[in-house]
Symmetry: C2
C-alpha cells in the first residue's frame, strides 16, 4: 500500500522512529531497516528524504537541541530572577535528569555507551555551540552588576559547561560518593571562577536541586 505525505511530515515520522529506536538500541545498534519497518516505508523513501543514516542522526540531534536551547533561553531570559539563579537554571536545562526534559531519558542513557560515541559527540558539540553563548551573556550581565568578576566570560563558561557534563552524570562516576563530590566541586569552583561571593551559589543551587529531583 502506498501512502503519500508531505515531505516535512514524513521526515518527522522518520525522526520520531529514529528517536525511539536510537533510544532503545543505540545508534550503531539500529539499522536503517529497523527504521523502515517502524515507519512502514520502503528503503527508497528513506533515502529520498535523507542522504544517509548519519544525516538522520544530525537532523534528530538538531531537533532535540532546538527544544533544549529554547528551554535554556527561556530560563535565561526571565529578568525577574537574579542572575545567579538564572545561570543555574540554564545549566540544569542541559541535563536530562535535572532539566525536566521533554525528550526521553533513554536517549541520554544510550548516549554514554561506547556504541554511541558519535551521537554523544554531536550532542555535546551542539550543547557547546548552543548553550554557551546563552550563559556567557548571563555571566557578562553578572559582571556588569558587579556580582561576578570574570576576565574570560566565554571561556570560563565553556569550562563549566564541559565539566557539568560529567559532574551531573550519574552513569559515569561509579561510586555515588564520587558523584556527590563532583557536584560539590562544581559549585565551589563555579563560585571561584566567576569571582562570586563565597556561598552565593551554594544556597540557590541547593534549593533548585531539591525542587528538581
Amino acid at each position: 500500500m502506498r501512502i503519500v505525505k508531505e515531505a516535512a511530515e514524513r521526515k518527522n515520522e522518520i525522526l520520531d522512529a529514529a528517536e525511539e529506536l536510537f533510544a532503545a538500541r543505540g545508534y550503531e545498534g539500529t539499522s536503517t531497516g529497523d527504521i523502515l519497518d517502524r515507519v512502514g516505508i520502503a528503503r527508497g523513501t528513506l533515502y529520498y528524504h535523507f542522504r544517509s543514516k548519519e544525516e538522520i542522526l544530525d537532523a534528530l540531534i538538531e531537533r532535540l537541541n532546538r527544544t533544549m536551547i529554547a528551554r535554556a533561553e527561556k530560563a535565561a531570559g526571565d529578568r525577574n530572577i537574579p542572575v545567579v539563579e538564572r545561570i543555574i537554571r540554564t545549566i540544569l536545562c542541559m541535563n536530562p535528569e535535572t532539566g525536566g526534559f521533554p525528550i526521553g531519558h533513554e536517549v541520554m542513557e544510550q548516549v554514554h555507551k561506547p556504541q554511541n560515541a558519535l551521537m554523544h559527540q554531536k550532542m555535546q558539540q551542539g550543547l557547546l555551540d548552543g548553550v554557551v553563548p546563552v550563559i556567557t551573556r548571563l555571566v557578562e550581565e553578572g559582571n556588569a552588576q558587579g556580582i561576578f568578576h570574570t576576565g574570560y566570560p566565554q571561556e570560563t563558561t565553556e569550562m563549566l559547561v564541559l565539566y557539568s557534563g560529567i559532574a551531573f552524570d550519574s552513569r559515569l562516576g561509579g561510586e555515588p560518593e564520587q558523584e556527590a563530590r563532583r557536584v560539590r566541586a562544581f559549585i565551589h569552583n563555579t563560585e571561584i571562577l566567576l569571582g562570586a561571593e563565597s556561598g552565593s551559589l551554594e544556597a540557590p543551587m541547593a534549593l533548585l536541586f531539591t525542587q528538581v529531583k
Copy 2:
C-alpha cells in the same frame, strides 16, 4: 605463503598497521580487510589474535596511552623542578602538538573528525583515567607546600584536563584569535582554581610554550 610468528609479535604488527591506517583514514574509514592487506595475513589470523575490530582499537589506544602516561609520570616525578612547572609539563604531555609525541600526529588529526567519535571518546577516557591521578598528586603536593589552596584537587584537575583538550586544539576553535584566547583563559583560570599566586603560572607556562613550539 605462510609465515608463523609469535603471538605477541603478530599482535604488534597488526596494531602497527591499524595505527597507520586509522591515522590515514580514520577508524570507520578503515576496514579489517585493509588491515589484512597491509599486514599480509588472512582474515582468520586477525580474528585469531583479536576478537573484534573494536578490540583492535582498544588495544591500540591502550598502547598509545601507555607511552603517554609513562611520559606524564616522568614529567611529574622530577623532584628537582618546582611543582607548578611539573604540572604544566604534565598537561602538555597529553597534547600531541605540545607534547613531542612519539606517535604520529595524524592519529590526532583524525581523532576529531566525526567518523572517529569512538576513538576520540576512548582516548579521552584513557586520558582522564590515566593523567588525572598523576596531576592530582602534584596539586596535592602544591597544597602541602602552601603554594596552592584547592579544596577539591581531583575534581579541579578533571576540569582542567577536560578543558585543556579543547584549549590546545588548533583544529577546533576556528579563528586563531579564539584559540589564543582559550589558552590565555586556561592559564588564568588554572591559577584561580588552584588558588595559586596571580601570575605564578603565566611565566613558566610562556617559557615552556616557546620551548615546545
